[in-house]
Amino acid sequence: MQEVRRAEIVDTTLRDGEQSPGIVFSVQDKVKIATALDKAGIPWIEAGVPAMGGDEQEAMKMVLAEPLKAKIIAWNRANKEDILASISCGFSYLHISVPVSDLHIKQKLKKDRAWVLDQLEKSILFAQSFGCTVTVGAEDASRADREYFLQVADVAARLGAIHIRYADTVGCLNPLITHAIFQELIPRCPLPVEVHMHNDFGLAGANTIVALQAGADLASTTVAGIGERAGNAALEEVVTALQVMYGISTPIDKDAFLGLSDLVMQASDKTTFPYKPITGSAFA
């Protein structure tokens, strides 16, 4: 018998979703989508990347000005410039992302593991000096050394970050392996884990739910699964599957899915594939 528990959704339609090539949300789109997500009961909304400047910062200020119950998060790299951009928009929840696989650390940043830990520590302290609450992101965690992921989690926990994101950046996990990894990882991780899966092999939703089943507490999703390349785990599929498969509940209003999907598809200038689960017309 599974113990009945709740999982929290961190929706990133406005950040990772919008990073999908060709999708551009206007300031009004962002405000409308954030409001609809909030109304549907999403507790965490990752709203964007203030470091991009210009219109993005305008949109962020507008979203923050809305009377929303959800906590609104800004996405940052682990550097002062990104964090200052977020602070100046008025954010109080900051997500700070660092790569954790050697592939990313060495080839993208041309640095080493110690440098990343140091940079993360400085960034968390810097963000906290403005009174912000920090969540930490571990990019490419699925291709990283598990012990190093835990080291990053330890640093984050010691400094007072509130949860850590495990990102399957290129979508290379499969559900049976994901379940095994999280069964081992969760008891050893000092922070609640958020899973952030990508859909390169069509497995994002399945990987998300089995990770939650194995004890992860939060899941990243996007409406209709939009996002870079083949996208992210779809909000509507994850929430429904969690309920059906494991009886894990979320306080999210399932009746809102169709409206959310229409809103996001319209703002993205895309149409829903008729065979898309939950919201596709062929399934109605």
Binding site: P21, G22, V24, P175, G202, R229, E237, A241, P277, I278
Partner: protein, 370 residues
């Protein structure tokens, strides 16, 4: 390893003519898919005549578990059929289904038994159902998750158990109400099930596992089977357009935009090493990598774009263009195409050269003492 195609049935249901169905069968052949399931009643209802030899080899007729329909399938020329049924909990196979199995056997057809609502039963109950089967020589037992009740963990557990208990070929036929069909198909594959129901892009009633996802997951994630057709994306798109649909641009494995990189961080990474942000290379499936310039671009993306055009763009110029790119992308709510970007660059250059020439003219005047 046998993929059992469900694409053809959806084409039949959506009113494709026989020529179009034949094209689908031919494309499937290129993907080494030799068996397609079609509902016999649908085939008959479309008024299609007897099966050709090509069709006989490839089609397996789904019957509703009555002797009458088995006979109709036989009359149409089906050599392989499925006796499909959805038993009630607590009851065994009803006599009608047993009669259908007998009839099929008597007519010399290859018979598969499908329990449509198998995932509603416990493993013990499935064992009882199996013992009810009145004949020997059944080709395969099809375990169907009609109501999408399974997650990959239960699929793996159930398939591992049934593979030991059931002495004929085990097939897994999953559905996709909650987006888990491909994951369940992959889990069945991982536990040694050889026959998996699939459809292009996961189409079909209640959805199926997507063939392109399983083909690539098997190769890249399980390290089995290198025989991926390097035209996979094109072949799947052809089938989807025969059915009257378009492949969504972000559809995993086969979508046109899955190798289009836009965000500054991703482009910067992909330029350094594509593996940083790609799980497999575009060539493996017959797609192309594309650098998209838009709202999320960074200066290094714009510089990378110009390098593709054999043009060295100084970072200061990239910053000027980036500002204009973002403004245009936001105003038009879409990416900035190559022509528009080149236009911005030309405008920037010509504005600059005009300014230079004005300065030059003034200088000459000064020298000339005018």
């Amino acid at each position: 390893m046998i993929w059992i195609d469900q694409t053809l049935q959806e084409g039949l249901a959506r009113g494709l003519n026989r020529g179009e169905l034949k094209q689908i069968l031919s494309i499937l052949q290129k993907l080494h898919v030799e068996t397609s399931d079609v509902i016999v009643a649908d085939w008959e209802q479309k008024g299609f005549s007897e099966l050709t030899r090509f069709e006989q080899e490839r089609l397996r007729g789904i019957t509703n578990g009555t002797a009458e329909e088995v006979e109709r399938a036989h009359a149409l020329g089906f050599k392989k059929i499925i006796v499909s049924c959805a038993p009630h909990l607590g009851q065994g196979l009803i006599s009608q289904v047993c009669a259908a199995l007998f009839a099929a056997k008597k007519m010399g057809m290859k018979v598969s038994l499908c329990i449509e609502n198998a995932s509603q039963f416990s493993l013990e109950e499935i064992g009882f159902l199996w013992r009810d089967i009145p004949i020997d020589g059944i080709e395969s037992f099809i375990y169907s998750d009609r109501d999408s009740l399974l997650d990959p963990l239960s699929t793996a557990r159930i398939m591992a158990f049934l593979r030991k208990k059931i002495p004929v070929t085990l097939e897994f036929h999953g559905h996709n109400a909650y987006g888990l069909a491909s994951a369940n198909g992959l889990a069945a594959l991982q536990t040694g099930v050889k026959n998996i129901a699939v459809a292009v892009a996961g189409i079909g009633l209640h959805g199926h596992a997507a063939i392109e996802e399983l083909i690539m997951a098997r190769k890249s994630l399980l390290g089995e089977g290198s025989g991926v057709n390097s035209q996979l994306a094109q072949l799947c798109s052809q089938m989807i357009s025969l059915i009257g649909l378009n492949v969504p641009s972000s559809k995993s494995i086969i979508g046109r935009d899955i190798f289009a990189h836009e965000s500054g961080i991703h482009v910067d990474g992909v330029v350094k090493n594509p593996q940083l942000y790609e799980a497999f290379s575009p060539e493996e499936v017959g797609l192309e990598r594309r650098l998209v310039i838009g709202k999320h671009s960074g200066t290094s993306s714009i510089q990378a774009k110009f390098r593709q055009w054999n043009q060295i763009l100084p970072v200061a110029d990239a910053q000027i263009l980036l500002k204009q790119v973002r403004e245009l992308a936001v105003a038009e709510k879409k990416e900035v195409d190559d022509n528009a970007l080149w236009g911005m660059y030309q405008a920037m250059i010509s504005k600059r050269s005009k300014r230079f020439s004005t300065i030059e003219v003034k200088h000459q005047r000064f020298v000339a003492g005018v």
